[in-house]
Symmetry: C2
Subunit: 218 residues, 2 copies
């Protein structure tokens, strides 16, 4: 029932601010699938508030435009694109495993956001310590279990679900990018997660984009 | 690629605490689809902490067990069941529209949770006022737009996506239940949303369950 018809003449536009944020996983999906899209990066607050915001279905970005139809909600956009591009698992159960990882990374993202938005220096340090001592280890453990389980199911691909790249891998890659920028050593004792990260970074459809994409703090 | 094989001899168990919380939308899905499942309600903290927690993949509930395999993340569980039961739209785009509503309701849920978890009476009142003056109207507006757009696409079904009940409708129904318990008048000026709510409440597969289910505050 889903996404089996891959229609290459579809016109896609992704509208988002000029940061990685909640737009980067969709961008990675387009590149991984080698599907053309308009990467509409809004870099003027004036443009957003005065002309664009009122036209967006939920008054927020990112918004995906598909042949003129609009879709909100970043994770919904990710899953839709992943289904269309065959990057969402090969069965409904694999799709569930992919989505489970994506939702888990969204939980991690919410934890990291507490650090980003905290203004008080002392509290920010506390949140940083908590991330290092509790939060990162918890999520690393979950992902290591998933990698191990996938390997035990005879998928020695090194990907998180099944035997090829999926949205799950892109989600983990992007969600770790910011934490690694503030805590560069967090993967030092996690060789499998390092290798997983390198696998995405050097993927034949992604390496060029990741190397040359606009550098943004978040 | 998804969920077309509806296998009625599958064994489903949903393990969650004895509240609606993040377990109720999955429960509503089972009832809407008339699919048998074990509704495993954990009502003892001792049982959870001492014997169950360590066995759960992410040490949290709900967990869905499908023929012995475990799945975490409540929204992933909802989407998986909805796909299996044909309650997730008829095309990949409809599925995206369904998921967009579900993610939007999760945003509303997060706003309402701020009220639930606030201990300070004064701050709680402030959050309550903000919910009434800003948050509810924003989300009601989004849903009214979606209902209207679906009607303009010739679906006079009164459901949110396409011409029949989907996960989107169940998600809205459940997400409003708690706000209506603390602010019973919020739908007074929103006739279409009232009618939508009644449509779910009186649905032939749901009416009995909703009338007779365990009454829980959340």
């Amino acid at each position: 029932m889903n996404g089996s018809k891959k229609d290459s003449i579809r016109k896609y536009k992704l509208t988002y601010f000029d940061i990685r944020g909640r737009g980067e996983i969709p961008r990675l999906l387009f590149h991984a699938a080698e599907v053309e899209f308009t990467d509409d990066r809004i870099d003027s607050e004036e443009k957003w508030y005065n002309s664009l915001k009122a036209k967006m279905p939920q008054r927020v970005l990112p918004v995906l435009e598909v042949d003129g139809k609009l879709l909100s909600q970043s994770l919904t956009i990710c899953r839709y694109l992943a289904r269309e591009f065959g990057l969402c698992g090969k069965t409904s159960w694999e799709q569930a495993l992919v989505e489970q990882v994506v939702d888990t990374m969204d939980d991690l993202r919410a934890e990291v956001a507490k650090w980003i938005y905290e203004k008080d220096t002392e509290k920010k340090d506390e949140i940083g310590s908590h991330l290092r001592s509790e939060i990162y280890p918890k999520f690393f453990g979950i992902l290591e279990d998933i990698l191990k389980e996938n390997e035990e199911n005879n998928n020695r691909s090194g990907y998180l679900v099944g035997d090829s790249l999926t949205l799950a891998d892109l989600s983990v890659f992007e969600t770790f990018t910011f934490p690694l920028s503030i805590h560069p050593d967090i993967l030092d004792d996690h060789l499998e997660l390092q290798e997983h990260r390198k696998r995405i970074e050097t993927h034949k459809h992604l390496a060029d984009y990741i190397k040359n994409r606009p550098v943004r703090p978040v």
